[in-house]
Amino acid sequence: MIIDSETMKYETIKKPAMDAGKGAGIAVAQSVARQGVGTLLTGFVGPKAYSGLQAAGIQIFDGLNTMDVWTALKQHTDRLLLQCSGTNARKGIPDRGHS
């Protein structure tokens, strides 16, 4: 779900890589980045998605899986949320799996 923080208008996008065997995290990061998103409020980001979002300069606030969207947004505008440091998104070992 993407919210314009000025107009509060929102739209939803589909998670693109539900069926991607490999690189699902990167594909998600790609679709989020393509929407011109600046801040991501989320439950959890995987290691690959984290690297992608970082590279795209997107701020990530995670650990919000039990919160509804509007509460999370309110807390964010009130600056109550902690930015994801990447330690939760444990770094995967980059490899080139050949299975």
Binding site: K22, G23, G52, A56, I93, P94, R96, H98
Partner: protein
Amino acid sequence: MIAEVFSKVQLEALHQRPYTTPIVAVTGGKGGVGKSTVAVNITAALTALGYSVALVDTNVEAPNDNMLLSLSLDDRVYVQVAMPIVKTNLCTQCGDCIAACRRNALFLPPGQTPILMGECNGCKACINACPTGALLTGWMPVGETFRSESGELTLFTGVLQPGRAESTVIVQALKDRLAAEAARYDVIIVDTATGVHCTVIAALAGATCAYAVTEPTPVGMHDLERILELCRILAIPTQIVLNRSDLGGWQGRLGACEAGTEITLAASIPYDSVLLQSYIKGMPVTQMSPNSSSAHIFAGLAIRIEKECLE
């Protein structure tokens, strides 16, 4: 019973190879049962019968047939895989490469050029898709192959760089290297890795027949059933070599295994300190102590291979 994994056409493609030299695979689901010992010793026994033998060590993560033969690793060839390199000044950020990559290995941050971030398999789809020629082919070293000679024995060894995932690529490179000169050998012995994964399948591809080495323990029997299932799926005629056959007391299970799958026990190798000494010394027992009971067993196996595969 698992459903058929491969169609007939797929199996034919898997086993296809550009030469007719018989390939005998030495495999076995479990580690430490003596696959390499058996491979090295039947190789030595076959050379003693006057055959020219190529031994292929596909344990690319920890190859050691050369140690069991006291051979050095010679004639190194590097194995590399392709990867895209971005020439940023030519990139228009069109995103075609991102769409082309089925593994989502490339990431295009807004306003920047693509970054290789995920698990690239070197397929070059991105490079072909780039309309401006901004992606060049780079090469990433992932391991090496070696070729060592000793009389009628030629040893091919594959070595994967630690930390890399391309074991199958190394096995394939090793087999390609062998293919170039396969016709000059009478028989090829392929020593496979432990397990039933894709690297083992790559090693078993093209095998005329296989010997599954195991030991009469619960774990040995369990893993034997798995490798026999794999060989059945791959339609490779397989026999069993029971190592440390006087151990454990699970021989009864082996009987059941044989009856159920119409697989025969080709050899039983009881525990033998002479065999252990030859292992430590790095010399096949057939050479070190040709009159020992173990040496006789391997000589018998070599004759069996001669009868079943070489005539």
